[in-house]
């Protein structure tokens, strides 16, 4: 007989170690009704893949289609701010279904093909080298602050034509946007400040690119307005979405991956034997083992039966890639960090029509970082006890990761 599953996904235990809690759900009740937050929790790999590939049954327009108040509860005085959040989030192209999603994706898709992203590899390599050069003599750094954050911010800012001196400000705004997946009752204030700050920041950039388009990514979005696919508000919201998505998840890949190597010296030794040759599959294993994004939500468009249960029309569905990526039916020894794992059909980037637009860019950045770290700081060490994570059910985000190498 199993003990009752506690239903709070925001407790410090579950935030610190999501794998035990969601792993238990996957074993005991893979299609689980979470009473506390009134949503379905999906934890098996095959269910997740099926669900993501049936976009007609599970709407991505979560904010538009969910009239219920946010969870966990927020201060009642902030319900007006939540309306602002709904309007802002609702205009993001990832919060749309076909046919609107497809039209929007076609505007941006070509910019992010594997071939186009490979062309950014030399820029990424140079940026990684400069960041490691700056840290080398100090003999220590915070991976989060000194490497994982500046690299992807640098790359996405370059793609968007954001001036050097403003990158720090963009990151400050992005940190406020991360309150979207958090549980604090007073989170609406910093979240809406971040959203309005982003709109105010990108507005003049968009105005400028409408008149003088270049080869930067804001021009791609601005062109979507000219084609009649996006309204101005959608261009602004999508610009800030991609500024955020372009770096937050990669930060987590770099930090969580580096932590996995610190915790598994045998795998670090393996990477060091052949950094250039092994970094590709090592990066895939980092994505699987401690995925940057833990979960994503959908809304059922009709009653759907799954494992003998009925996911009712308009029910909230939350699927956990961090659990699917440890599913023993798909991965041998799933709790083992094994950088030679091949094939590695993890779902860190989701699947189906909403598969992560920036997946190749994230891969390029991860591959170059892990390779460079293994080549230049072979004695990398860090205290892996007592590390803290942001209290989010969306992102698997460390607060800091101090390391030394001398």
């Amino acid at each position: 007989m199993v003990t009752a599953l506690q239903d709070d996904m925001f407790t410090p235990d579950v935030i610190a170690d999501p794998y035990t809690y969601y792993g238990r759900l996957r074993d005991e009740d893979p299609v689980h009704w979470n009473e506390t937050y009134a949503l379905w929790v999906i934890t098996r790999h095959d269910d997740l893949v099926w669900l993501t590939r049936h976009h007609e049954l599970f709407s991505s327009a979560v904010f538009k289609n969910d009239p219920r108040p946010p969870y966990p509860a927020i201060d009642e005085s902030d319900l007006g701010l939540y309306e602002y959040v709904r309007n802002y989030q609702g205009d993001q192209f990832i919060q749309h279904d076909r046919p609107e999603h497809l039209a929007a994706r076609r505007v941006v898709h070509g910019y992010f093909t594997p071939k186009s992203m490979e062309a950014w590899r030399p820029f990424v390599q140079k940026a990684v080298k400069e960041l490691l050069d700056a840290a080398e003599d100090k003999g220590r750094m915070d991976i989060m602050r000194d490497l994982a954050t500046p690299l992807p911010v640098l790359v996405i800012a370059q793609m968007m034509g954001v001036p050097d001196k403003e990158r720090h400000y963009v990151r400050e705004l992005a940190e406020k946007l991360l309150y979207i997946g958090r549980g604090e009752h007073d989170r609406m204030k910093p979240l809406t400040e971040g959203m309005q700050g982003m709109i105010d920041y990108v507005s003049p950039l968009v105005d400028e690119r409408i008149v003088n388009p270049g080869d930067d990514f804001i021009s791609v979005l601005a062109n979507g307005e000219k084609q009649g696919v996006f309204s101005r508000h959608e261009v602004l919201v999508n610009t800030s979405l991609l500024l955020l998505a372009g770096h937050e998840t990669t930060i987590n890949l770099i930090c969580n991956g580096t932590l996995a190597f610190l915790q598994h010296p045998d795998q670090w030794a393996l990477l060091k034997e052949d950094p250039a040759g092994r970094t590709r599959w090592a990066t895939e294993e980092c994505l699987r083992y401690d995925s940057p994004v833990k979960s994503i939500q959908r809304i059922a468009t009709q009653d759907v039966e799954m494992r003998g249960k009925v996911l009712g029309k308009a029910d909230r569905i939350r699927w956990f890639m961090s659990s699917a990526n440890r599913d023993p039916d798909v991965f041998a020894n799933p709790q083992r960090f094994d950088i030679t794992r091949q094939p590695n059909p993890h779902v860190a980037f989701g699947s189906g029509t909403h598969h992560c637009l920036g997946a190749t860019l994230a891969r390029v950045e991860g591959q170059e970082i892990f390779k460079a770290l293994a080549e230049r700081f072979p004695n990398l060490q860090g205290d892996t006890t007592g590390l803290e994570y942001q209290p989010s059910i969306t992102f698997r985000s460390l607060k800091s990761l101090p390391v030394t190498w001398q």
Partner: protein, 74 residues
Amino acid sequence: MARKLRVWVDHQTCVGNAMCETIAPKVFRLNDNRQSEAVDPAADTVEKILEAAESCPVSAIFVEDAETGERLFP
């Protein structure tokens, strides 16, 4: 005489993003697993098929010249 192509999709890699089906719907079709199949490589131009292959976010589409075996993508 148009060039004959051999086109296939690697199902270990395909994530069912379906951009290929959008670009060349007569050539690519999603199967019951919602993964792409190259159902008729002769149904569109070489350019469209290569555009579809390039647009695959996980590079799961392979294109060869059916007669010479020359790899056209990736």
